[in-house]
Structures are given as C-alpha cells and as structure tokens.
C-alpha cells in the first residue's frame, strides 16, 4: 500500500472520529456516573453524578443534577441541570456546570507559556428551554489566567452543536504535575460580581467581574428551566473533529483515577493487632489514583466480622493510612485475639468511596 493511501486512510479515520487521544476531556459523553444518576435538592456545589463533572452553586436556587438519557443522535447520555426552586441574582450568585479540571501533566502539548502556544477548540452539544447567550470560560488554575467565549442557544428544547476556538496562551507555563492545570467552566447563572466586566477574548489574568460577562440567562429564574450538555471535546488546534467516542470500560478506567467506589465486600481478611482493633491493607483494584484520596466509609448496617468461626460485635469502621495506591481498613470490635485473622463481609453498594478529584 502506498504512503499516499496510508495518509488518506488516516484522514478518513480522523473524520470518523477514529483517531484516539484527541479529546482532553474525560467522560465527555457523560456515560459514567459512579456516584449515581441523580442528585436532588442541591443548593451548593460539588461532584454529584456524572464523573469528572463538578457543579458549583452559590446563592442561586435549588437544582437537580443528573445523568439524563436525553441525548442527541449518536449519544446515550447527557449531563442535565434542572431548577427546582428559583432565586433572583445577588452579587455573589454563581452557577456553573461541568467544571472539569485537567491535570497539568495532561496539557503539555498545548505548549502554554511559550511563543508556540497552541490554539484549542471546544465542541459540544447543548440543549435548554432558555434561549440566550451563555459563557464558556477556560481557566488556568496554575497561573490564575483565563479566556472566555459566548455561545447562543438559538432554539428552545433542541440539541444544538457548538464549536468554539480559543487562542493559545504565550504566558503562564503549566507545571508538568498532577495538579489542576486548566478547566472548562460552563456558566449558566452569575451575579454582578462575575458579569459587570468584559469577557476576556484573549488570555488575561483573572478578574472575577470578567469571568461570565455576556451571560444573559439565569438558570434559576424559573422551575421550568433545564440545561443539558454532552459530547464535550477539547482538542488541540482550530478545527473541531467528530467526537471521539470511547468504549465504556476505557472511560470508566480514566474516571477511576479521580474517584473509586467499592461494593459488596466478601471475605476481606483482617488481622487483629490487639484485642480491639483489626487491620488490612488493600491495593486499589482499579489502579493508582491521582493523589492521596479522601476516604469515606458509607456504613449503615448489616456487616459482620468473624474470627475463628465466632462473630464479633463491631463498633467502628475507619479508613486509615490512605495513599494514592493503597489504603488501610481498620475495624474496632470487642473480644479480638491479637495475631488471629478474621473475615469481614458487607453486602451493599458504596461501602468505601475514594475521592481524588481536582
């Protein structure tokens, strides 16, 4: 086969979304939701449903944040925000969705902070009952710099495809590390603290008043309001290529670098350190995490610890000694025997949660 034929095939593959590794966004098709598919009654921000998607909310109503099955052709899911209690804008109001942070070490190809800094293009599908002008901001957390663009939702309740190209930044090098490098912030509501300036059309030091300038919608002004997004892609260059679809397992594996959850523990072996404490050390089966994670033991009832055939009364369950690659589980129980080993069982979901999000 000729070299020309190889190159033509390669180009065709790119047109079909076949070249891998273009998309710097993880879970852009909103398929993975380890935390659950719906979070209701939210009045503050956090990570709730679709993986890698942070929701930030200050003084701007109450919302449901969900993984929706409403999606444009070729997609199965979207990330959706529904207003369930309204609020008027106050100066410090803010609401943005899908604030996905990207590690600095995954952005070195942007050559940020050099004279050869690369442009990037963001493409996505968006849908809302509220037509109007919205803001997408790219935020450099290492150098506190940003750039923004507006886009319009032209037709209510209709999926629309948007592409926005942002110039490269010749200032502010991104450290080659696991820390927050840059992030995308999709603004859907903001008070005067964020809107009274001018949206930075080129990279500049962050001024809060400029961050969402041009935004003319408030997602919290009616309980009829909703906003949904999917197919989010951030890629180097000035051209939006077709969305890079991944198999579910590949996306899930990427998400687990930032969040892992454990279900259905059966026969976990713990060794008794003394008469009241037993420990075990566990390597994360889903791989090393981005940083040392925050650990949560989600216990309600129904676990057991058996030692030499005898069930013990458990009084506390803790995660101690957490590292990016391993954690230690500690049980406090009565009548243990130092040196013996026992089996711990807990048959339910979300028993251990580990959060190393940016």
């Amino acid at each position: 086969m000729s070299r020309a034929r190889d190159l033509a095939d390669l180009g065709g593959s790119a047109d079909a979304g076949g070249l891998t590794g273009r998309n710097l966004i993880i879970n852009g098709a909103m398929t993975v939701a380890q935390r659950g598919t719906s979070a209701t009654g939210k009045t503050t921000g956090g990570y709730f449903t679709v993986d890698r998607s942070k929701f930030d909310l200050v003084n701007l109503g109450t919302h449901t944040y969900s993984q929706s099955t409403d999606a444009p052709e070729g997609f199965s899911n979207s990330l959706r925000v529904d207003c369930t209690a309204t609020a008027s804008l106050s100066a410090d109001s803010l609401l943005y969705a899908l604030a996905q942070g990207i590690e600095g070490q995954n952005l070195q190809q942007l050559k940020k902070g050099t004279s050869n800094a690369e442009s990037v293009t963001v493409s996505f599908y968006v849908k809302s009952n509220k037509t109007g002008t919205y803001v997408l901001e790219i935020y450099d957390g290492m150098n506190t710099r940003h750039i923004g663009k507006t886009y319009t939702i032209d037709t209510a309740n209709t999926w629309e495809y948007k592409t926005l190209t942002f110039a490269g930044d010749t200032s502010g090098t991104l450290t080659n590390s696991n820390a927050f490098g840059m992030g995308l912030f999709f603004w859907i509501g903001a008070g005067s603290n964020y809107t009274t300036g001018t949206l930075p059309s080129s990279w500049a030091s962050v001024t809060n008043a400029n961050r969402a300038a041009g935004l003319n919608v408030n997602m919290a002004d009616s309980t009829d309001n909703d906003w949904a997004i999917t197919g989010v892609q951030l890629e180097v260059g000035e051209t939006a290529t077709p969305f890079e679809h991944e198999d579910y397992g590949t996306t899930l594996k990427k998400c687990k670098r930032y969040y892992q959850v454990y279900d259905n523990i059966q026969g976990m072996t713990l060794h008794c350190y003394n008469t009241s404490h037993a420990y075990t050390s566990v390597q994360y089966p889903d791989g090393i995490m981005r940083a040392t994670p925050t650990a949560t033991v989600n216990y309600s009832s129904g676990d057991s610890f058996a030692l030499a055939g005898s069930g013990k009364t458990i009084s506390a369950r803790e995660i101690v000694g957490v590292k990016p690659n391993v954690f230690m589980f500690k049980l406090t129980a009565s009548s243990l025997t130092a040196g013996q080993a026992g089996h711990y069982d807990k048959d339910s979901t979300n028993i251990f949660q580990f959060d190393a999000e940016l």
């Binding site: 503050t44 956090g46 696991n178 940083a291 040392t292 994670p293 925050t294 101690v320």
Partner: protein, 57 residues
Amino acid sequence: MNITSAQYMEDMSGNNSAINATIDGVKMSVPLDPANRHYAEILRQVEAGELTIADAD
C-alpha cells in the same frame, strides 16, 4: 465546601496520619496531602481562622 468538624487521626505509631472531618454533612477521612482538594480547603479555612483541627483522641 461546608466543613463542620475536623480532628486528627493517629496511625499505629501515634503520628497524625489523617483528619476525620465532616464535609457537607458526610464524615470523611482526609489525608494530609496538599494535592487533596479537601485537605487544601481545610488548610485554607484554618489559615482564615474559620476552622480548628482538634487533636487526636
């Protein structure tokens, strides 16, 4: 991030190894790693005088 309590945890050698914190109503074990977003927020609130970390029991 609403942090309503924070207390150091000790490892088997008696050294501070993590912070038991209640964050947004959920009890969490926060590692002493500045790259962890919860620990970074705890440090910020301590610096601002908004939070005190209790000694381990």
